[in-house]
């Protein structure tokens, strides 16, 4: 084993998932954290590092009864937890702390204990984007796709197929919110939200949370669960203003983050058995497959259409059903990480047989930021 390696020794989601009107947001964090600590056989006093969002880290520390000596509140949207994992791995390697708890909880649907939406009209996006009637991700995250579709000749049917395939995976997951099979016709016949995006091409809005516990790989051997090792990590930021993205057919943040993670892990694309790509909308798996290098530019839609990412395909993607069908609280990255850990532990409901390397790739703040984690169940 490499001298400096880090592993996940605790992982859990909230006890319930989907509609949880009886828990406030901070309690969703706590519920997931308590489940992860039980999973790892740890108590709050054993935790000396804490990373969280969207709750404020000091609030959660006090709520859980932890006084962490390493604190991270990085907030770059839904992939923040990938960045927390990366930062925690560096901190553990550097000896800043030994045992890091990373939590997410979000009352996305019920909005219990959540502040109001707010907008700063003096910010750059407040001045130069908000006046044009943007109303959240459905009208912003979606804007690049027509340029992508024109550039590569991608059809609405192909975009719809992303949602169809992920519903097939969701059907295998008892905790998935949406499990009934759908067809391309169902997707294209669903209500128009923001052309060309129909309802079934948009993620769910649900309640839930998740938590991870990380420690050194050396120490990880003494924990009750089989360790899941972190082989490589990446992160990047591009632009919070969608209008200022460099190119609407590719995410620079995806490319930078993915390259870092692959290089650090020292793996090739052929080594990857399982892939999670944050899918707030149906176009994100297309950008993810191409920007991570699994497909050439413009080829991801055909790759998915030919069932390469579907059950039985050569590269299983979003095996929990993804944000489109499993759950999406608003910051989905934690659930992508949880599914990667389940796959590496060999306990996923739609388990990929013999999977040894899994990647969880996240996006945050529309295309503003990205984080990529390479996991393995074999010690590095």
């Amino acid at each position: 084993m490499k001298r400096k390696s880090v592993a996940v020794v605790g992982a859990a989601e909230t006890t319930e998932l989907g509609l949880i009107p009886n828990l406030s947001q901070i309690q969703l964090h706590a519920d997931a954290a308590l489940n992860a600590m039980a999973d790892a056989g740890l108590r709050p006093a054993d935790i000396d590092g804490l990373a969280t969002t969207p709750e404020w880290t000091p609030n959660l520390a006090n709520y859980l009864g932890i006084t962490p000596s390493w604190v991270d509140g990085t907030m770059v949207g839904g992939c923040s937890f990938m960045l927390h994992v990366r930062h925690a791995a560096a901190a553990i390697n550097e000896g800043l702390c030994t045992t890091v708890l990373i939590t997410h909880g979000e009352s996305g649907r019920s909005r219990v204990g959540v502040g109001p939406f707010s907008g700063n009209r003096a910010s750059l996006e407040g001045q130069f984007e908000a006046p044009y009637g943007i109303m959240g991700p459905t009208t912003v995250f979606t804007i690049p796709v027509l340029r992508y579709m024109k550039t590569y000749g991608v059809t609405e049917e192909q975009l719809a197929m992303v949602a169809v395939v992920q519903r097939e995976w969701a059907a295998k997951n008892p905790r998935a919110s949406m499990r009934d099979p759908i067809t391309v016709e169902d997707v294209l016949g669903s209500r128009m939200i923001a052309y060309p995006f129909r309802l079934l091409m948009c993620c769910l809005v649900t309640d839930g949370g998740g938590a991870l516990i990380l420690t050194s790989a050396e120490r990880a051997r003494d924990f009750p669960r089989k360790p899941v090792y972190i082989l490589g990590t990446g992160e990047a930021a591009e632009s919070w203003m969608i209008s200022q993205m460099e190119d609407f057919t590719t995410s620079r943040a995806f490319r930078v983050s993915g390259k870092k993670a692959f290089e650090e892990a020292g793996i090739t694309h052929q080594d990857v058995d399982h892939l999670m790509i944050y899918d707030a909308f149906a176009h994100l798996p297309l950008y993810g497959l191409e920007d991570l290098g699994f497909c050439k530019p413009g080829e991801a839609a055909g790759f998915i259409w030919e069932r390469n990412t579907a059950p039985g395909g050569k590269l299983p993607v979003n095996t929990n059903g993804g944000g489109l069908s499993y759950m999406h609280s608003g910051m989905y990255g934690m659930y992508a990480l949880q599914e990667s850990v389940r796959q590496m532990r060999g306990i996923a409901p739609a388990q990929v047989p013999g999977a040894k390397i899994s990647i969880a790739h996240g996006v945050g703040g529309m295309f503003a930021a990205s984080g990529t984690i390479v996991f393995s169940n074999e010690a590095p």
Binding site: G119, R121, A122, L124, G126, Q127, F128, E129, A130, P131, Y132, G133, I134, M135, T138, T139, V140, T142, I143, P144, V145, L146, R147, K150, R191, M192, I193, A194, Y195, P196, F197, M241, I242, S243, Q244, F248
Partner: protein, 138 residues
């Protein structure tokens, strides 16, 4: 209840020249005096070479439609369906806007179609730039 208004911008010292420009019927961009890079949104330095020597200039107002969505969920004062677009200005930078003066349909909103700026006063302080098909009315 007062009628809902667009969420209007609050200018900052770094962006005031832009909003004074739209009020005067001009789309004002900035260009670096060192490397000639034209850029948007406003800031008092070049995002390409970091020079603080930059100048404000009047843009042509010509653009092409780079990408868009048509929002079908109404949000007062907007009447659905309406386009939310990103246009590429002739000078290079891109900006968000609404496409006006044409049907809000995929058939009428073709990527790469030529556009020209049009200004609509919102308040005494704020005038917003929109884009319409080049050569059209409104």
């Amino acid at each position: 209840m007062p009628e809902a208004k667009r969420p209007l911008p609050k200018p900052t010292p770094e962006t005031r020249h832009y909003w004074e420009g739209t009020a005067a019927g001009e789309l004002r961009l900035q260009r670096c005096d060192q490397c000639a890079h034209a850029y948007f949104p406003p800031r008092p330095f070049c995002p390409k070479c970091a020079s603080r020597k930059v100048s404000v200039f009047k843009a042509s107002g010509r653009a092409i439609l780079y990408s868009y969505v048509i929002n079908h969920r109404p949000m007062p004062p907007f009447t659905a369906p309406y386009s939310i677009a990103v246009v590429q200005l002739e000078e290079g930078p891109r900006m968000m806007t609404n496409i006006v003066g044409c049907p809000q349909t995929p058939a009428a909103l073709r990527l790469d179609m030529p556009l020209e700026v049009v200004f609509e006063k919102q308040t005494d302080e704020i005038t917003l730039p929109f884009f319409k098909p080049a050569g059209g009315s409104r």
